[in-house]
Symmetry: C2
Subunit: 209 residues, 2 copies
DNA sequence: TTTCCTTAGTGATTTCTGTCACAGTTTAGG
DNA sequence: CCTAAACTGTGACAGAAATCACTAAGGAAA
């Protein structure tokens, strides 16, 4: 069912034995564009590894406003799903598929065996934590030290890097991701357009930087 | 040199065998109040576990302003030192001892053995990651969704919980931790004093909430 | 085609925060 | 004891961002 050679290509840290083992114990699941993959308060029965597609991770506040944190794509794993799965704890963040996304679900009960029997696995887990942690630090830098214009610029660069220069986003969506307001984003985007950093269309933005 | 029973008391996840092993391979080191334990850009040769004392972890921006993230105390470990040590990477945050702090240094070369031979160790590592990750999420919530008055209130509660109701802090230090300015903090503190949430003294604040 | 809803643009106003200026008070060090 | 430095309190002002109010344009559906 799962092809272990394909897994090795997507997860370079997996050796043949590990890939074969993971392939034998995991299940594939497909999420469709826009589908919610993970909700605040949800419990996990499995760790999730992304095979293909893109996932948006964000935080939700009590009053419903959100805040974009980072993307996951093929070869990544959801750090929280691994921790929460191992410790059987509730999730603290939201995840939605931004495009059709295929994931590998590894049931909790194999976590001990993976961790102790496969060196490649725990290197993979450590790498996952480290990179998510670092992304969070960058997020903190941005909201703690930068103004909205710089944050917007960084946000657009980041989105363009992952999703392409032609972004299908409304100003309202961007405002949500940055937890700002639509008018502020509209004004800043206009300014960026004057500075030849973007071209604005209805429902989409072309990033030139 | 290291007493493995003492270690088990401080790190409840360690079984006798693990505690004895850790005791045999680690070295103790003492940092004095105010001493910098870890700098941005520094490389690790060891993972650091806190035996006693308190450590303040914070982020530094390019222009030198800082931003408080969280404390570590006895029984905790520095998540970044463990990741960076294993992967031989540079640190991204700053750490200073807020009081005399004793730490256990575990050389990198034992990481593989610990991880694969000791179940208690990787549970401990996972727990460390999860709790630091969650603390970062709370930090993000605060700066993303809250105003300075709420952030200050949260900050004071947090400090009081770790360091006691009587805080030896100047307004300037608080402003640095929250990456704000002294005047703003002074004014908000005055307001909190009117609302009987704190009592202000020179060089110290009594937290009543 | 006409209507309606979503998206976008923009001025006016307000709130929050940061900055400047300065005064008063306490503490440390010579 | 005296002076300088550090800490605190406050008014005035500036700038960023949020909010309100409205207009206009584009696209979808009737």
């Amino acid at each position: 069912m799962n092809d272990s050679e394909e897994l090795q290509k997507i997860f370079p840290k997996f050796d043949a034995k590990l890939a074969a083992f993971v392939a034998s114990i995991s299940e594939r699941k497909t999420f469709y564009e826009g589908e919610i993959m993970m909700k605040t308060g949800q419990y996990f029965k499995a760790a999730m590894l992304i095979i293909s597609g893109k996932v948006k991770l964000y935080r939700e506040s009590d009053d419903g406003s959100e805040f974009f944190m980072y993307f996951l794509e093929g070869g990544n794993a959801c750090a929280l799903s691994m921790i929460c799965a191992t410790r059987n704890q509730a999730s603290e963040i939201m995840a939605t598929a931004v495009e059709e996304t295929e994931v590998l679900m590894i049931p909790i009960r194999y976590m001990d065996e993976l961790m102790t029997q496969h060196k490649g696995w725990y290197y993979f887990v450590l790498e996952t934590y480290r990179s998510r942690f670092e992304e969070l630090l960058v997020v903190i830098d941005n909201i703690a030290f930068k103004n909205m214009d710089e944050r917007l610029e960084w946000y657009l660069k980041q989105q363009a890097a992952k999703l392409g220069k032609q972004l299908s986003l409304t100003h309202q969506q961007i405002a949500n991701d940055l937890s700002s307001s639509r008018e502020v984003i509209s004004r800043l985007l206009k300014k960026m357009e004057k500075n030849q950093m973007v071209v604005l269309h209805r429902n989409s933005i072309e990033v030139l930087i």
